[in-house]
């Protein structure tokens, strides 16, 4: 099990994932993965702090840690709610 930092972007509310550089990407594949067995267990704390900087800099809201796993080769949040956030609604809206 690994972790990532997820948030909503302030200007448009879109779900974003924090990258290694501390910026924010819309695709989960571009987000930095915090391995569970990181040598110093404070890695997730440190990265969350960087995430909170994103809040202070008015880039994102509600930066938090979520658990992710590989499912059929695709990086997916383990919780169903976060999976919906990452992938979008489970139903197709009618747009015409």
């Amino acid at each position: 099990m690994s972790q990532m930092i997820i948030a909503n972007r302030l200007v448009d509310g879109l779900v974003v994932f924090m990258t290694a550089a501390g910026s924010w990407a819309e695709s989960i594949a571009d987000g930095v993965l915090i391995p569970d067995e990181a040598p110093d267990g404070d890695e997730s704390e440190r990265l969350l702090e960087v995430g909170k900087d994103g809040e202070r800099d008015c880039l994102v809201i509600d930066a938090c840690l979520i658990e992710v796993e590989e499912r059929n080769g695709v990086r997916t949040p383990t919780s169903y709610r976060e999976e919906i956030r990452a992938r979008g609604p489970s139903i197709q809206a009618e747009v015409n």
């Binding site: 448009d12 509310g13 008015c58 809201i61 709610r81 609604p89 809206a93 009618e94 747009v95």
Partner: protein
């Protein structure tokens, strides 16, 4: 319909400018999210799972075709091409950007539409009977009072930081289509023994985690005093409502804690001080607003029972639609037409921008350019000539807006649920889709008759599941979605809260469970009994048995 004068335009324009500044101050860091959140909520903007959601008011459910076209345009330009009509007669957009919201509000203001106080701890959109002013069973049209209360409640400086949200509903018909019994304040227009119109005032109703049927605080009050009486209630609530626990902060909690008699004492004492002040509705202002709600020029027409009977025989589909979607109009020769947004497999309440434009055109052509939004997440044309019904039906049918299911089992009410909402525990839309796909035969729908199904994706109950004949509540257990069923709820003048059937079911078992319960009703009902009536007569056991008993669907799935 009410039309803005220069003052309404001025106020709404200033509100948009104020929000534009607030957004700028948020984006440049002058305000943090805690400071900004109540302000954006009071302008209708929620942060949901994927994006911001904007909730736009449709005051007491009344919309013009011009306004609907603008709503379509907003969906197209600023969202993903669709909108969602809610159980409180509002419309929601799911993919809104904060930085574009001031522009959206400015565009809406052009057609006299706002998102002011559609959320937040303040007075929300005031809802009313969707057939107001038109239904044959109506005693008094409540819309003029809904408008007066709307102007009173928006941008009210004293009551914008209440302990919690505050919702009003009005009805002028003895058959309550506005669910006044489950609102913070419900107003029922009726006549006193002297034949004078006035309001019964109900207080402290609500759903959510602790559903409560409202209590009558006043049997009858003169309309000219309704605003001051409402102010007295709001003031008592603002001062004494709980502030320590958001789950115990609604007025229903305060009314329960004090008891209705003590609560009434406090309100009446406050009201005595203010009843004859500036809040007494001046006759000229009443007249001015009332003029907007006078009935239109109707043609002198006859009821077309024979003609419609003939068409009904020729075309079963048209006949089914007449039976379920048409409501009797006050005026001879006219009809009220429900546009069902619940075709099989559709998302309840959702409609595309293109369809909104088509509906606007049809409203112009067939219903004097106006329409209503119903609590059932459908739309309504309230002034259709009976002579036009067949032609209108053909048009609606082509748009999939003519499913003959109003108030029937496939006319499911559902909140957006976990597919959109940050508060949800489970998805409600797929269940609604399953149900409407399953019960898709017009004859079957008529056979079953009136049966309301309401789905909420969490305990906040935005789908109003407590007052569904069948309620479905989504929950999350160890990462899996489970759905709890309730039976016997009703939001009409004999309001009741549903009773729990049993432990939550997995999603796959819900349609079968419903089917079993519907079959039980069909087996055991007496003539003229609706599902609700049969349940009230025979109780829970027969229904529980078919869901959880040895032959129930649970046992059939390995």
């Amino acid at each position: 319909m009410y039309r803005y004068d220069e003052f309404d335009h001025q106020i709404v324009g200033e509100r948009v400018a104020q929000f534009r500044r607030q957004v700028a101050r948020r984006l440049n860091g002058e305000m943090n999210e805690d400071q900004f959140k109540p302000l954006r909520l009071m302008n209708g903007l929620y942060l949901q799972l994927h994006a911001y959601m904007l909730r736009v008011n449709v005051p007491y459910g009344c919309l013009s075709s011009k306004q609907l076209r603008k709503l379509a345009h907003i969906a197209r330009r600023y969202d993903k091409g669709f909108g969602h009509f809610t159980t409180r007669q509002n419309i929601q957009y799911n993919w809104i950007k904060l930085e574009e919201t001031p522009d959206i509000l400015a565009e809406l203001a052009e057609v006299e539409v706002t998102a002011i106080q559609s959320s937040g701890n303040c007075v929300r959109n005031i809802t009313a009977d969707q057939y107001a002013g038109r239904a044959r069973d109506e005693i008094e049209d409540p819309r003029v009072w809904a408008e007066i209360l709307r102007q009173y409640s928006i941008l009210n400086p004293e009551f914008s930081y209440l302990p919690r949200k505050f919702k009003f509903a009005l009805t002028g018909s003895p058959h309550d289509r506005a669910a006044v019994a489950v609102h913070d304040i419900g107003l029922r227009m009726h006549h006193n023994t002297a034949g004078e119109p006035g309001f019964e005032v109900l207080v402290g109703g609500g759903q959510g985690r602790t559903p409560v049927i409202a209590k009558t605080i006043r049997e009858w009050i003169e309309p000219e005093h309704v605003v001051s009486y409402v102010e007295a209630i709001l003031r008592i609530y603002n001062m004494y409502g709980r502030r320590d626990n958001i789950y115990k902060a609604r007025i229903k909690i305060l009314v329960n804690a004090l008891g209705i008699d003590k609560f009434r004492e406090l309100v009446d004492a406050e009201w005595e001080q203010i009843r004859d002040g500036l809040l007494k509705v001046a006759p000229e202002e009443l007249q001015r607003i009332d003029a907007y709600f006078r009935p239109p020029e109707y043609e002198q027409l006859e009821d077309l029972d024979d003609e419609l009977g003939r068409l009904r025989e020729q075309d079963a589909a048209f006949g089914a639609w007449l039976t379920s979607n048409i409501i009797e109009h006050k005026v001879r020769g006219y009809a009220i037409v429900n546009l069902s947004l619940k075709a099989p497999g559709k998302i309840p309440g959702d409609i595309s921008a293109d369809k909104m434009d088509r509906v606007a055109d049809l409203a112009d052509q067939y219903s004097m350019g106006e329409l209503r939004v119903s609590h059932r997440q459908n739309l309504v044309f309230v002034d259709v000539r009976q002579a036009d019904l067949h032609a209108l039906w053909r048009e609606l049918d082509a748009l999939e807006l003519a499913t003959p299911n109003i108030g029937f089992v496939s006319d499911v009410i559902a909140c957006p649920g976990l597919d959109y909402c940050a508060l949800a525990d489970a998805r409600s839309i797929p269940i609604a889709q399953d149900i409407s796909r399953h019960f898709n035969d017009a004859k079957q729908l008529q056979e079953i008759g009136n049966l309301t199904i309401n789905i909420s994706g969490c305990v906040n109950a935005c789908g109003h599941h407590h007052v569904g004949n069948i309620g479905i509540l989504g929950a999350n257990k160890r990462g899996k979605e489970f759905f709890q069923l309730t039976l016997g709820g009703s939001s009409d003048e004999n309001a009741s809260l549903g009773d729990r059937v049993g432990p939550g079911l997995p999603q796959a078992e819900v349609p079968a469970a419903i089917e079993r319960m519907v079959d039980t009703y069909l087996d055991l009902r007496k003539p003229d009994e609706r599902f609700l009536d049969t349940y009230r007569r025979i109780g829970m056991e027969p229904f529980k048995e078919v869901v959880y008993g040895p032959d129930g669907p649970k046992k059939r799935h390995p």
